[in-house]
């Protein structure tokens, strides 16, 4: 009666956040390490899945997808150092809910809080402070990894170093992250002192970023339907954690409390094509005008500043049943101006209105296989269609031409060849995977598509 049984699997239709591609997968929800080891011993390659916020097929595996949601315990917190030990399935949203009122904030956060600790490590996520403070691995003290044949390794920059640096950014292809220790930063208030600037074109945005090197958080929202002399016009948002002193008196009494944001759920799929050049264009215009009005300094709560889209729960349904794809690349500093201009030209010429176009400056590379490198990263969303596939081809070619590379957490379209052309680290990663037998135990639909 007490023998650890391998968990029963069930067939589920799964997809990433972009809802493309959709795949029927055998899903397992293990509750203990021994259950996971049982699954590994069956010898079928499997992939860990966090909260499914990667856009494409990186957390899908037809044969065995390992849902990590039962691994969601907080195991330790040191208020002297801010070090939190958490199981891989803990949601960032939970961490924020518990720790912001106690005066702590993650050192690095992606643009949504509905991600797991495991997902953040596997993608080595970057935030609006990458240029200054690096990617998630910077805050990571160690992780425990379950790898081939059921071995568990403690990995850190000093212990099992290679395994550590292949695992951050390794997209679940080195093993299953069980738990990790990472540091939170102390904050005096839950508010961000935000400065909004308007840039008339691409040159101005980049100048603004370059001038804002020392600002902790920076990001630009680009109107990608603008063309000609206004190509790249954008709203640039800069932010710092506000100190108690800076705060307007009305917030100073309870500086770590912020009003609850209202959440709106998208109840149904929008019709395919609801997002077309016209609607997106109108939205972009309105957003732009509104931001112009708000230019200057203000205090915004952390949730609004870091996770503007999270208050629209299920917003991926706006793109209709066919789903959407995100394209995200990073271009090195030396080619960024030219390359970005080419990418934006291509987008605006295709008229394939991207709802969201986000530009960030990134600092140096850290993990062996992590996405970020010094340069500029551009992220674009497109509703799925035949035409979009063509635009993606073009954008990928442009990226290659300017020496850029692609973010696997957003990808559902790359080919093995283009990936290799973009990134000389791929071959080494594959070699290590083969040598360590990881290919036998860990694979995703994405790794099969890209022959990783």
């Amino acid at each position: 009666m007490s023998s650890p049984m391998a968990p029963r699997g069930s067939l589920k239709t799964l997809c990433g956040w972009g809802r493309y591609p959709v795949q029927t997968c055998h899903v397992y929800c293990p509750r203990s390490e021994s259950e996971m080891i049982q699954l590994l011993k069956r010898g079928l390659p499997l992939i860990a899945r966090g909260n499914g916020r990667a856009y494409g097929d990186s957390a899908l595996n037809r044969e065995a997808t390992l849902q990590m949601r039962h691994f969601n315990r907080l195991l330790g917190f040191n208020p002297q150092t801010g070090q939190l030990i958490a199981e891989a399935g803990v949601l960032l949203a939970e961490i924020l809910e518990i720790f912001v009122p106690r005066g702590w904030f993650p050192l690095v956060t992606p643009g949504t809080k509905f991600v797991t600790v495991g997902g953040m490590i596997a993608a080595d996520v970057h935030g609006k402070n990458h240029h200054k403070e690096g990617s998630f691995v910077r805050s990571l003290d160690w992780l425990d990894l379950l790898t081939s044949e059921g071995q568990i390794y403690r990995c850190s920059p000093s212990e099992n170093r290679d395994l550590f640096y292949w695992t951050v950014g390794g997209m679940g292809l080195t093993g299953v992250i069980l738990r990790a220790a990472f540091r939170l930063r102390p904050i005096e208030t839950a508010w961000i002192r935000q400065t909004i600037r308007i840039a008339k074109n691409l040159d101005e945005v980049i100048d603004l970023f370059e001038a804002a090197q020392d600002v902790t958080y920076s990001v630009a929202w680009i109107d990608c339907l603008a063309s000609g002399s206004r190509l790249g016009r954008s709203v640039v948002m800069l932010g710092e954690h506000a100190t108690r002193e800076e705060l307007p008196t009305k917030y100073r009494q309870r500086p770590l409390r912020t009003p609850q944001r209202r959440k709106i759920s998208i109840p149904l799929d929008f019709p395919n094509g609801a997002l077309n050049a016209l609607t997106v264009g109108t939205f972009n215009q309105l957003y732009f005008l509104n931001s112009q009005r708000k230019a200057g300094q203000s205090f915004v709560d952390w949730d609004t500043f870091f996770y503007p889209l999270d208050s629209l729960l299920g917003w991926n349904r706006i793109y209709g049943r066919r789903g959407f794809v995100q394209f995200q690349c990073v271009l090195p500093l030396s080619t960024a101006r030219e390359g970005l201009s080419a990418l934006l030209h291509c987008t605006s010429a295709a008229g394939a209105g991207s709802f969201l176009a986000v530009l960030k400056k990134l600092g140096d590379q850290q993990g062996y296989f992590s996405f970020p490198m010094a340069g500029y990263t551009l992220a674009l969303d497109f509703p799925m269609s035949q035409r979009t596939l063509k635009v993606l081809d073009q954008l990928e070619e442009i990226t290659l031409q300017y020496g850029g590379r692609f973010y696997l957490a957003k990808d559902s379209h790359l080919t093995p060849l283009r990936l290799r052309q973009s990134d000389c680290r791929v071959e080494t990663f594959v070699k290590v995977r083969n040598a360590q037998q990881w290919t036998v135990n860990f694979a995703s639909e994405q790794s099969k598509r890209l022959r990783l």
């Binding site: 009666m1 968990p7 929800c29 907080l74 195991l75």
Partner: protein
């Protein structure tokens, strides 16, 4: 400080959700289960999240002769005892394997009844407290598909009902919880109708509210009251030919 909530069968999904619900309300928590080492993670989690004292205790519901000693060694007498223990292997296997069938009957009825009896005596003496038994709608009528489990739960439901009557005057609350389908490890891989299936969190919320309102018997999803009413009404000659 308030007296703790004791959860018997705390490694289960429902047990965890219940512990969280009460911890969120500031109750100290006592977690009890067979493999006490498996509770350490939960202990840390509850303490960090809710800042409440948490202790863990070894408890084997089948070892009824140890139950009195188990209660003795608790550092503090609980205010609320919640028995989440349950065991439901495949019916077909039970039909062939007598010892497994026996485990099912004993785990779902005998063990829980013994431990709650012991607490009942203590609580009656001091004149307050709450005893909660998680039974099952499967105990409302035996069915071909799970009558070992169902009969165990039927016994437990009857036990709780009798206990409630006995303690009615003493100020001790006895709450019977009939969850219906719940999305837990026990039901994993089964095709469950979403309308009739509760999440462990819902069960925890329902128990919390029912204790506050001094309820006797609750169905976690109210629709189950009507479903079971219908099922109980079906005449036996007809019932035996149905495949429910």
């Amino acid at each position: 400080m308030t007296a703790p909530v004791l959860i018997l069968g705390a490694t289960s999904d429902m047990g965890r959700a219940i512990a969280q619900r009460f911890a969120a309300q500031g109750y100290p928590i006592q977690l009890a289960a067979r493999q006490v080492s498996r509770l350490e993670r939960d202990k840390a989690d509850l303490a960090i999240r809710y800042g409440v004292p948490v202790s863990v205790h070894e408890f084997d519901v089948l070892a009824v002769e140890t139950h009195a000693a188990f209660i003795q060694q608790l550092p503090m007498q609980p205010a609320i005892v919640i028995c989440v223990v349950g065991f439901m292997p495949a019916q077909k296997v039970c039909e062939q394997d007598c010892s497994l069938a026996l485990d099912v009957m004993r785990t779902n009825y005998e063990g829980p009844a013994v431990i709650l009896s012991l607490f009942a005596n203590l609580f009656e003496q001091r004149g307050f407290g709450t005893l909660v038994g998680i039974s099952s709608v499967a105990g409302e009528r035996g069915r071909a598909s799970n009558y070992f489990y169902g009969s165990g739960k039927a016994g437990f439901t009857a036990f709780l009902s009798g206990l409630r009557q006995r303690l009615a005057k003493s100020g001790v609350q006895v709450l019977t919880v009939l969850p219906g389908y719940v999305n837990t490890r026990m039901t994993e891989g089964m095709k469950l109708p979403p309308l009739l299936t509760a999440e462990p969190k819902e069960v925890a919320n329902a128990i919390f509210a029912a204790i506050e309102k001094k309820k006797d018997v609750i169905y976690v999803r109210p629709i189950w009251r009507w479903i079971m009413l219908l099922i109980r009404w079906i005449p036996e000659p007809l019932f035996k030919r149905l495949s429910l």
